[in-house]
Symmetry: C2
DNA sequence: GGGCTAGTCTAGCGGCGCTAGAAGTTCTAG
DNA sequence: CTAGAACTTCTAGCGCCGCTAGACTAGCCC
């Protein structure tokens, strides 16, 4: 039985590793050349297999791969925002989180795109994503120290800033000023 | 000479009309079935011609068509926001503009997508778009009555709210509350 | 050994954006 | 009046896309 279990274990591990390879490769390619350059053929090729193998791991095709990448993103963004509040409070925490959020969006544009450009149902279709999505929101809530509506507004500013900065619609040289003003307008009342 | 001019006039008019047909058809199809359903073949078919004719009007292909649709959108959004401030001042104006902006984004999701999902260079590549883009920003500036940075921030909240609402990430039943809070946080000092 | 299952691949479908070059039509110049 | 230039439009095709049916191997169980 141990042998059989060992085999099954092996198999599971091999599949899991390959699945991760796909996700990593997709993310890397997207970040380097954009999501349009991520095709099922290229992806399958990069891991040394053919398309049907990829579809074995992700029956939903490219969309499901993007969703898996996005899930990683949500975890990383939440963690970045939580880390940013360390040692800060009040307005300082708000600005620190804002900076962390915008840095994340700026440094991983393709990842951020997967997280927010995809219809949300695509994410919820995958098991256990809800907690991940929730965690990021909570990290913002801690910083602004407000009710749900305030947090939603805070999130919206950050998301809006990230998108507009990325598409070159805001003056890059005024970035620090914008973050400071976010602090002024969203700092919790003392 | 009048005859020759008349012919040329005719030709210009015919071409302009067909161009407009393409733009209108693209917009309608996108709004009804999403931009993925807008293909050069379908578009050409819908106006009773073939693909090369469409490419004669829009050498940049689908992207350039989207850009033309987006341009219409910028004009309409700016006009909506300007109209919203009429008869309001201070916080009232801010909330009115916010409501107008979000209504626009909610009622024309495909149009809004063309405006902001497309790289900005695509828009500037078309002659005379800069003024259109500027006009919308100015309408926001009037409402918040602040400097450039404040307006950028106000724009970011609206854009962020629009995108997150559209993708179902904010609680729909708290929409009014969010707009009211935008008013509270962005009303110009009296 | 002989059948069964799992894993993988080949080959193909329909559709995409885009374009070269043929064919038809209208205008112009001699 | 006619020959050719210029314009307009179409046919047909390229290479790529996401996705899938069915053939082929290799290892396991009886």
């Amino acid at each position: 039985m141990t042998r059989v279990d060992g085999k099954h274990e092996d198999r599971r591990a091999r599949l899991a590793e390959r699945r991760q390879q796909i996700v990593d490769q997709a993310r890397a390619t997207a970040e380097a050349e954009g999501w349009a350059a991520v095709t099922t053929r290229r992806l399958a090729d990069a891991i040394g297999y053919t398309q049907p193998v990829l579809y074995g791991h992700f029956p939903g095709g490219k969309t499901e791969v993007m969703s898996a990448v996005a899930l990683q993103g949500f975890a990383e963004l939440a963690s970045s925002c939580r880390a940013a509040t360390d040692g800060h409070g009040g307005r300082g925490a708000v600005e620190a989180v804002a900076r962390a959020y915008l840095d994340f969006a700026a440094h991983h544009p393709a990842l951020y795109e997967a997280m927010f450009r995809l219809p949300i149902e695509a994410h919820f279709a995958v098991e256990g994503n809800e907690a991940e999505l929730r965690a990021g929101f909570d990290a913002l809530a801690v910083a602004v120290h407000g009710d749900g509506t305030t947090t939603e507004l805070f999130w919206s500013v950050l998301h809006g800033l990230g998108e507009l900065e990325r598409s070159g619609r805001l003056r890059p040289e005024h970035r620090a000023e914008r973050i400071s003003e976010v602090g002024a307008r969203f700092a919790p009342a003392p």
